[in-house]
């Protein structure tokens, strides 16, 4: 089971629960293949596919500040060093999130000791290791998570954002 990604594991679980997938070959995909999977997002927005960084440039639990899908949308990319929910890369530990709080757009600070984003405006907290889950605060949505994939050279690309970025009507500006 160890090389089953969480995504595949969940699919398998759904099959078993549904009882309708008997005889299906288990998807023993490697990480690189998984990275090429299509987005689960049902979107019509024209997200750019943008190279963010090469994996060799990442330090463990160190926040890399970037922007996506455009320069007015700050994001943070973090490699945690241990497998986390919806993480990508060979360790399944790389995630990226919008840095605008989904309550009122406060500029979030990532803290390595908590592994969470903290909002200075009204003290919301979002857990980067749990897909941006709000731990406490007044926001009504988790933190939008940037959809990432990695190619054979270790280049990490962004190709979508799950959840609405604060201050926008659509994640890709008109």
């Amino acid at each position: 089971m160890s090389d089953l990604s969480r995504r595949h594991f969940l699919k398998l679980g759904a099959c078993l629960a549904g009882g309708a997938c008997a005889g299906t070959v288990l998807p023993m995909a490697e990480a690189s293949q998984e990275a090429k999977e299509a987005s689960t997002l049902t979107t019509t927005l024209p997200y750019p596919r943008l190279k963010l960084v090469n994996i060799s440039e990442l330090e463990i639990r160190h926040e890399m500040r970037l922007t996506y899908p455009d320069v007015d949308s700050p994001i943070s990319l973090i490699k945690f060093g241990t497998r986390i929910l919806h993480g990508i890369g060979p360790e399944g530990d790389i995630v990226a999130f919008s840095r605008y709080c989904t309550h009122m757009g406060g500029h979030l600070q990532f803290k390595a000791d908590t592994g969470a984003f903290h909002c200075p405006l009204h003290f919301a907290m979002f857990d980067a290791q749990k897909s941006g889950l709000m731990v406490i605060g007044q926001a009504t949505d988790n933190l939008p998570q940037v959809e990432l994939e990695m190619d054979d050279r270790g280049d990490i690309y962004a190709f979508g954002v799950k959840g609405l970025i604060y201050g926008r009507q659509a994640n890709v500006l008109a």
Binding site: M104, F123, M134, Q138, T140, D141, N142, Q169
Partner: protein, 517 residues
């Protein structure tokens, strides 16, 4: 689906000609303002300011606190009775003096929780249930109403109006408070005439804080502005970051951070002003404590982490300390209060060592609290202290004495009726309260206690609340309800194949044995 993970990456914006209304939050006690936008499904406003009702430029990133961002939770699609579908957006009102565009995690979901046939809100109870063969099974309204009405009528004829006890919600908010509350009162008070009435979260038909009323205080003697002006804010049994979020974030936090200093100087000239200090009395280290420390600095936050149920000793000890040091408001006591000698002979004799042992609070903390509440700022100016309390103080077996102790502390220190002072709950609900007069005595009957003792009522009508979750003596009450209702269920089961007549007779026979329907 979790409310908190919508996963959508766009929301429709209201077009310039969308219908719009102002409303107030239907959740907590703070009363934040909201704007509702409604427009036909299939139509959308454009990103340019003149193309949408918010007059905002959505072709650009909005700045923080813009007050015009629509989160996924603020939008929904509703279907009217004639089948027409509309987009609905419920947005915090940035022009409302209470919330200034801010919202809590509750208020931010007004759109989300509207009924929609294709969302989790479609999951509703649409038909009444009756016990049959040991199970609650759906039935028609006609059958349920006839069945219920005949049993109520039989009880009324045989045992009189007090054989029908009730515990009903009295909130309404967006759900139709006036109509609901009026209908409940009309039915139980005018129609049936029972004294055995109680409210969703308490065992009798009374105010939660009637000790305050008895002492002559108005229900809400302070405004949110007082929280911006106070020298000291005292929170008792209240986790206001999480439960009165906007009152705390928009009116207390700016005072703790010093943001309201200019306002304080302008409003109350001639006395010294500093960012407010805050005393939080709570057995738990809450999010409110953490946030207050982050804003005001630890030196300006005093968390009295008392043992459960020791509020009275703590509050009376504070009164004693304040009186012994001469920090009380003699003029206020003389001109505005009576029975001071009685108060001295009782509350002010609270043994301080005993209090330290009971509460687990340190002596220096107690003294610091007394100073922050009442030590005058100068020879001519008293401290302005706003004392606010909630469920931690008002829900308990010593409800009356708890409130009396805190009210006495406020009276002793003259913290009423002046800017920056007050003593009350953090608010009241948007209940739309209007009912015919309660026909019972004052003080009203403790309905739950009567139920525990197995006396009186034959019918216990519960509406829109969890009776066991909102009472003082929960476990005996739960067991009593369980025991007495199970006898009725058994009686019904014994005639599950019978006619309506058989089943009504079975219930009435069981009721004679002192059970509950």
């Amino acid at each position: 689906m979790s409310m908190i993970s919508h996963g959508e990456d766009r929301v429709p914006i209201p077009p310039a000609d969308a219908q719009h209304y102002s409303t107030v939050c239907s959740y907590c006690i703070v009363g934040c303002g909201y704007k509702v936008y409604k427009w036909p499904l299939g139509k959308e406003g454009g990103p340019k300011p003149h193309q949408n009702a918010l007059n905002a430029d959505f072709s650009k990133q909005q700045p923080q606190r813009s007050g015009n961002w629509i989160s996924s939770a603020m939008h929904n699609v509703i279907t009217e009775r004639n089948g027409t579908r509309f987009n609905i957006v419920v947005l915090p009102d940035r022009n409302c003096a209470v919330n200034k565009g801010n919202h809590s995690v509750r208020g931010g979901t007004h759109g989300d929780v509207l009924y929609a046939p294709d969302r989790p809100t479609a999951d509703r109870l649409t038909s009444p249930f009756l016990y049959r063969g040991g199970h609650q099974l759906p039935t028609t309204w006609e059958e349920a109403l006839t069945f219920g009405a005949r049993i109520i009528k039989a009880c009324l004829d045989t045992w009189g109006p007090d054989s029908i006890a009730m515990k009903c919600f009295d909130h309404g908010g967006g759900g139709g408070g006036f109509e609901n509350n009026w209908a409940v009162g009309k039915f139980f008070f005018t129609g049936i005439g029972t004294q055995m009435a109680s409210i969703h979260n308490r065992p009798a038909y009374n105010s939660e804080v009637f000790a305050a009323g008895d002492a002559g205080l108005a229900s809400l003697p302070a405004s949110y502005m007082d929280a911006q002006l106070a020298d000291t804010i005292v929170l008792i049994g209240a986790n206001s970051y999480e439960t009165q979020s906007i009152y705390f974030l928009e009116h207390m936090v700016p005072n703790l951070s010093g943001e309201t200093l200019a306002f304080k100087n302008a409003t109350l000239p001639g006395e010294s002003h500093a960012p407010a200090k805050i005393i939080i009395i709570d057995p738990r280290r809450t999010a409110t404590v953490a946030v207050a420390e982050a804003v005001a600095g630890k030196a300006n936050v005093l968390h009295l982490q008392i043992n459960n149920g020791t509020d009275i000793a703590l509050l009376n000890s504070l009164s004693r300390l304040i009186h012994e040091r001469g920090w009380h408001d003699q003029e206020f006591i003389e001109t505005r209060t009576d029975n001071f000698e009685e108060f001295k002979a009782k509350n002010l004799l609270q043994d301080l060592d005993h209090t330290l042992r009971l509460t687990g609070v340190l002596g220096e903390q107690l003294l610091m609290a007394a100073e922050w509440i009442a030590k005058p700022k100068s020879d001519t100016h008293r401290r302005r202290t706003l004392i606010l309390y909630e469920k931690g103080l008002i829900w308990g077996l010593k409800n009356y004495e708890n409130i009396a102790s805190v009210v006495d502390l406020a009276l002793l220190t003259g913290n009423l009726g002046k800017p920056g002072t007050g003593c009350s709950r953090l608010g009241g609900h948007q209940e739309g309260y209007s009912r015919p007069r309660y026909p019972g005595t004052r003080p009203p009957i403790n309905v739950d206690d009567v139920a525990i003792k197995g006396e009186g009522s034959k019918i216990f009508w519960v509406a829109g609340c969890n009776p066991v979750g909102g009472t003082l003596n929960a476990q005996p009450f739960r067991l009593s309800l369980e025991r007495r209702t199970s006898i009725v269920n058994q009686a019904l089961n014994s005639v599950s194949g019978g006619s309506e007549e058989d089943r009504i007779q079975a219930v009435l026979t069981a009721l004679e044995k002192g059970v509950f329907f």
